[in-house]
Subunit: 451 residues, 2 copies
């Protein structure tokens, strides 16, 4: 312990003084921490030094690698095809995974998807999936492989075996104000994604009031770092910058979002949600080798909905994973929350902005999210957003409908949601839903037609 | 704990983002840490953020105050006179405390001196005092007050009751690479000094190869911060920048330094040592109200040696604190180390530089210092330096004499000491022993005659 401890202090000092650690030094550090040879107080000093002085590409890759190799790395090489997953940095009303996973699988690209739970204002795919009665996300590795082999798709939850070093480091960062550093965020995301058994990855990096990265330039830097790590690990990686200046689609909350996904898979759905979903799906289909370009992939994605194969894939996977497909076929049979309340506008005007963080927090307070990791979520709770940026509102019109089983929360949340809407007399500029593409060639502004 | 913990993260974040904490936030933080309400891993993240982003004067004062008030603050207000102490940032061969304490007390200024042990290459006053047979530095507060009342002087060791928060923080800084930040160093020093019951303080801030601050500008910044804190606490504080580019005086090692102090108190001693000692003592005498200027104080300091009152004070305090005054009167009766070995020069040349850190480490290896807090020191071990910067050496002349009880260390240390000396053909520029004075008016270059 004495000599190991001496070493650690010199590594902390090196990072503190703005120098870069070697790959082997990073690996030693993470390895020793995972083995309990380094106390939390040394690791947190290191993390703060790394937060403030940054980490270069080599250090970030080494950190990713150490966390990745602290646990199981799934091997899906025996399964034919280029395995592709999508990761989103998290937002409000972001149910794209539920729609694109069956689309991409239906197009012949295997999708091994391991998702997390929501925390804070941001929803989690796992909570949404679990609002489907009977749907199981916990499984053994053999079952995980069996499902993807059979359906080109598996929707699983993170286990203790995936990147346990990241789990410990994340918990420490959470209580030491060292969360929001790009190299730390990027290595945490990638160590988990690289463990799934993927060959390629599509990233949805969100910015704006409902995202963890409020600032678009920070989001671009994060995207660049994520793509760089992916490519360093030999996985083709493409990132899209998408706006979280308003909720994506109309539903926020677990079952409400599953219901909106079903609408989309049946040919309906909100335009912004469909635009993002098809672009992400199209990129996955292209990376999966089933289309010549992302644009062509996007076209195939739309076809998978119109020809019904995506919805059929969705029914198959729900049944395979123990879910009740009758609520997928007949969503109106799903029991509603006890209290459903319309929030109306107090005045006339154009919606010129929506504080999306507040919308996410309102859904959380209604029961859809959790404040601590220990809390459970209410599948029925959430919001339906009827009016979005650019819409003209008349006084008394319904803006949002609340769904909750917590009556006492309604008055305050009603007030918070009204305040989240900014109304103006003149019409605002439209929101660009997708702004940039980031790949190994660099950062490209997105213009839909020249994709 | 939940709400307290939440609070802490926001304080860490504030410092991380380069903002200043309020006095009350700093006090809350240190108070909660001392009460074990904050884990080490949060404090170390805070310390690293403070290390890298700095702390302003208000924060540094608040930190000092919190650490000061975590323990006993001695009240000597019932004792007449302006109580003055001196603190040195540490060096090699620095025995000024042993000489100036009896001088200043003999001049009528009460000196409540609480000293620490040596660590690393730097010696500690406490280890030197304890080389005197029977000398006791541990005492109750009532005895501390009794001794100073009787003799205008007390020489005590730090106890657990003085600034315990500093003790804990220092231990944490030591293992998290957060030692060398000026606000943290300054608050640590001052929280201990302000607890002694002083009214004024003289600081000896050392720079150069044998000091903790190698760089003179860093030392000036530290001096400014220390003076600022002292003045904020209503204690007149004057700092002197002194060179540690070579050992101060000729002896390095516990008893050897006591012996050199006795020589000085009896009218002998090396010029550089006397220059620094009389200036520091003179400043103390002036701040203690017994001289109109520091220069006048310096004159009184020299007189206290020539008239024998300082040596008599030394004998009195040694006897009062249980020491054997016969070895003070007859230092030649003190038993020598088993092995005494002369190191000779391998070539001719001027001594143009001495790596003083290496000299300090050599003394440590011979037994005079300790590598860990648990080790004991050997009172007999050390070095006598016969040749210093500017001296001309002939091949075969003795440079240094080693005193040790560890024969096996001699060959390597001999080699290290030879390498610590740089010899050149031409004579080097003389070393300025004292370069700057720092007080509440600012930083002043030191020119002896215009003091």
């Amino acid at each position: 312990m004495a000599s190991s401890s001496f070493n650690v202090v010199s590594l902390i000092r090196k990072k503190r003084d703005g120098n870069s650690l070697t790959e082997s030094e990073i690996e030693q550090l993470i390895d020793a921490y995972t083995k309990d040879l380094i106390p939390d107080y040394q690791m947190s000093a290191f993390l703060m030094a790394a937060f403030l002085n940054g980490m270069n590409a080599g250090e970030t890759a080494a950190l990713t690698n150490s966390m990745l190799n602290s646990g199981i790395v799934v091997d899906l090489s025996h399964i034919d095809g280029i395995k592709v997953d999508k990761h989103s940095t998290g937002g409000v009303g972001d149910k794209t995974s539920l729609i694109l996973a069956p689309i991409v699988a239906a197009c012949g690209v295997p999708v091994p998807m391991i998702s997390g739970r929501g925390l804070g204002h941001s929803g989690g795919t796992l909570d949404k999936l679990q609002s489907i009665p009977g749907f199981r996300v916990d499984m053994k590795l053999s079952r995980y492989k069996e499902i993807i082999e059979k359906h080109n798709l598996v929707l699983a939850g993170q286990t203790e075996e995936i990147a346990p070093a990241d789990k410990r480091l994340y918990a420490l960062r959470d209580v030491t104000a060292t969360v929001e550093a790009i190299p730390l965020i990027a290595s945490s995301i990638m160590s988990k994604k690289l463990a799934e058994g993927i060959d390629a990855l599509v990233l949805d990096i969100k910015f704006g009031s409902g995202a963890f990265m409020k600032d678009q330039n920070d989001a671009i830097r994060l995207a660049e770092t994520l793509v760089q790590i992916g490519e360093q690990f030999g996985k083709q990686t493409v990132g899209w910058l998408t706006s979280m200046e308003q909720p994506l689609g109309n539903a926020v909350g677990n079952w409400l979002e599953v219901k909106e996904s079903i609408e989309c898979l049946r040919g309906g759905g909100a335009e912004d949600l469909l635009e993002v979903t098809h672009l992400l799906a199209g990129t996955m289909i292209w990376l999966g080798g089933k289309a010549g370009t992302a644009e062509e992939g996007t076209e195939l994605s739309r076809q998978a909905i119109s020809n019904g194969t995506a919805f059929q894939k969705w029914l198959d996977i729900v049944e395979e994973q123990g879910g009740d497909s009758s609520v997928i076929l007949n969503p109106e049979t799903y029991p509603d929350a006890k209290f459903i309340e319309n929030i109306t506008s107090g005045q006339d005007g154009y919606v010129s902005g929506i504080d999306t963080y507040s919308i996410g927090m309102a859904a959380l307070e209604l029961g859809a999210g959790r404040k601590t990791k220990e809390e459970t979520t209410d599948p029925q709770a959430g919001l339906l957003i009827h009016r979005k940026t650019g819409d003209y509102l008349k006084k008394g019109e319904t803006i949002v409908t609340l769904y909750t089983n917590k009556k006492e929360e309604i008055p305050e949340i009603t007030e918070n949601i009204r305040q989240a809407y900014t109304l103006t007399e003149s019409s605002p500029d439209p929101i660009d839903v997708i702004t940039h593409r980031v790949d190994k060639e660099g950062v490209h502004e997105y213009r839909p037609k020249s994709l």
